[in-house]
Amino acid sequence: MVTLLTESGEHAVPAAQGGGDALWCPLRDAETATGFVVKPQGLCKDEICVPLPAGRERELVADGRVNLAALWRRLGRAVAHSERGDVWVLGESGQDRAAALASLEAPDFALPDPAGRVHRLSDYRGKKVLLVTWASW
């Protein structure tokens, strides 16, 4: 059992295998967890396509599975995994985060209040928002 922590949340993937630097994940589970699918152009999500390296396609996609860790490294995005290889964080790249902020479009988010109700930044479109952090420490 492998748990994937991605942009879209936590995903339990019983059929995934994480060992060393590789994270092999069945194609359908990979799509659910990351949005990436195999197309003629390569591994794609929205406008991004990562071509499969000629002659070395099996480093990324083989036997109905995709090596998400290798894909993430090709994308230049952060990866972290537990020692046992059973929990993997598929993060972002500094470049993508920086570009997003440079656009000055405030990134949307969804966070719960203490009652568990989820609030999105986009719920407050039309108002001036003072986003302010605090902590009990």
Binding site: S82, E105, T133
Partner: protein, 221 residues
């Protein structure tokens, strides 16, 4: 502090979104109960906002206009590092430092008032060029730190404290400017404040470097 401001400015299409960078279950609740805010208070367990906006400390603020555009990127929200001059035994601050601390707060609140009333015409609202220049750096090391932090949080929730600590340490090593990351891994005293010897040691280790990066605002110390 924010409640009064929110009530004062709500008629100007202004809202406060207060986000608790707390991860321990129930940590934020007593504080929220005491303050009884009528604006939304959100819990950011995995420090998602830190990832998205480059937030490194509390209190920090981001100003976002009606169209969802960043008008002032993450900066200290009227906070001043006067506490560094505090008597650590008595928690007293020298008078001049207390005055500067109060001035920083007032200056920031007045700027928010000006923006709420005047929107883009406010001199405190950055134009695109200025806003871009004030966006905090988001490097590959910081992205890796955030991944380690998120993993550490997950491991803590699943009872793997020792392994979690290793990832927290790595996160802090990669993103040493983040007090949010560091303080999440460090302990707290019985009052819930991170006023431990570790904290003071790390603060003192800053030397001449600011705990809160200077805020580009007229009248701000």
């Amino acid at each position: 502090m924010w409640q009064a401001l929110y009530e004062e400015l709500a008629e100007h299409d202004f809202v406060v979104l207060a986000v608790a960078m707390d991860s321990r279950e129930g940590d934020a609740q007593p504080w929220i109960d005491a303050a009884r805010p009528t604006y939304p208070t959100l819990i950011d367990r995995d420090h998602r906002l830190a990832e998205l906006y480059g937030i490194v400390n509390v209190p920090q603020a981001v100003w976002i206009d009606e169209a969802g555009r960043i008008v002032r990127p993450a900066e200290a929200a009227g906070a001043y590092e006067g506490f560094r001059k505090m008597n650590r035994a008595t928690r007293e601050m020298p008078e001049d430092v207390a005055r500067t601390t109060a001035q920083a707060r007032t200056t920031y609140l007045d700027a928010i008032r000006d923006w709420a009333r005047n929107g883009a015409r406010s001199r405190h609202a950055f134009g695109p060029g200025q806003a871009r220049a004030h966006v905090p750096p988001l490097t590959e090391d910081i992205a890796q730190a955030q991944a380690c932090f998120r993993l550490g949080q997950f491991l803590t929730r699943h009872g793997q404290a020792a392994e979690s600590q290793r990832f927290m340490k790595e996160a802090s090593r990669l993103h040493p400017d983040s007090w949010c990351i560091w303080r999440q891994g460090a302990g707290v005293n019985e009052m819930g404040f991170a006023a431990q010897p570790d904290f003071w040691e790390r603060v003192d280790g800053l030397g001449a470097k600011r705990y809160y990066a200077p805020v580009d605002m007229e009248g701000m110390p």
